[in-house]
């Protein structure tokens, strides 16, 4: 068996560890540095963060404008400063529905949406979303009217995308906390409505 075959048959965890060991051996990082980074990231990464920003945008027109024009400034105002990517937020309307994908790998705003779901990293989601999004969304239980334009955002650069869902009808009496509780991770990806 060649070493290539070894790689193909070993688990993701084994391959990840091998990569870590090579980076450490090359003097590029240390185990402590990797542990500290992951602890910091996952201690705070949650879709609750993105949900709070979406709910605030529904209740505060100025914040909505900031969120759509300068995602990083809006994130900082909500207490999430120092994002290590450019945040771009795209808004769903009556006429447009946005969906995010990364066809090259699995880029995703982890700090605001939490660890990405397995399906987001699957070949099926990554290849089919750009090609037949209506069929993919239908498999998520979301069938949109033909009149709604679907806009796919492929995260191929240093920018990370988040969807601002449309505010659901009948929520006029709710405050920002109640509204945030309605916003799901899939809503922020675009594979569900809120």
């Amino acid at each position: 068996m060649t070493s290539h075959d070894d790689h193909m048959h070993s688990s993701a965890a084994v391959r990840t560890r091998e990569l870590e060991e090579r980076l450490i051996a090359a003097g590029l990082t240390t185990d402590d540095e990797i542990d500290e980074f992951l602890t910091r990231l996952y201690a705070s990464a949650s879709p609750v963060n993105g949900a709070r920003m979406a709910a605030r945008a529904w209740t505060d027109p100025q914040y909505r404008e900031l969120l759509l024009s300068d995602g990083n400034a809006a994130a900082a105002q909500a207490g999430f400063d120092g994002l290590n990517y450019q945040l771009r937020v795209v808004a769903n309307t009556d006429q447009t529905h946005n969906v995010i994908v990364c066809t090259l790998c699995s880029c995703y705003p982890v700090s605001l949406l939490g660890p990405s779901p397995g399906w987001y990293k699957s070949f099926a989601y990554r290849s089919r979303t750009v090609r037949e999004p209506r069929a993919v969304l239908a498999e998520f239980g979301l069938t949109l009217p033909e009149s709604v334009q679907i806009s796919i955002w492929d995260s191929t650069s240093e920018a990370r995308y988040m969807v601002l869902p449309a505010r659901p009808a009948g929520t006029d009496g709710l405050d920002a906390d109640d509204l945030a509780a309605l916003v799901t991770r899939n809503g922020l990806i675009g594979t569900a409505l809120v």
């Binding site: 750009v130 999004p133 334009q149 679907i150 796919i152 492929d154 995260s155 650069s157 240093e158």
Partner: protein, 88 residues
């Protein structure tokens, strides 16, 4: 910034033997710039350890599904560095 929003751009067709961030499905296709995202190191250079890497404006470029796939009524927006693009 060479291509303001609204500019029609065509993606270069080259198939480099090194890392690149041009998805195959947009190569040779024409789209419209919807936003300039800022200047960032070109990943083709960074991945090859070229120091310093070129820094270029990266653009969000929108393509129609009908152009990309021959069918579909959606759009796909892809982020592409300036040297990936030409004017048609």
């Amino acid at each position: 910034m060479r291509y303001p929003a609204g500019t029609r751009v065509r993606v270069r067709t080259g198939d480099p033997d090194h890392h690149t961030r041009v998805p195959r499905y947009v190569r040779g296709h024409t789209g419209e710039v919807v936003a300039a995202l800022g200047r960032w190191p070109v990943p083709d250079d960074s991945a090859r350890g070229i120091v310093p890497p070129r820094e270029e404006t990266c653009y969000a470029v929108r393509f129609s599904a009908a152009d990309l796939w021959g069918s579909g009524d959606h759009t796909v927006t892809v982020d592409l560095w300036e040297s990936y693009l030409d004017q048609p």
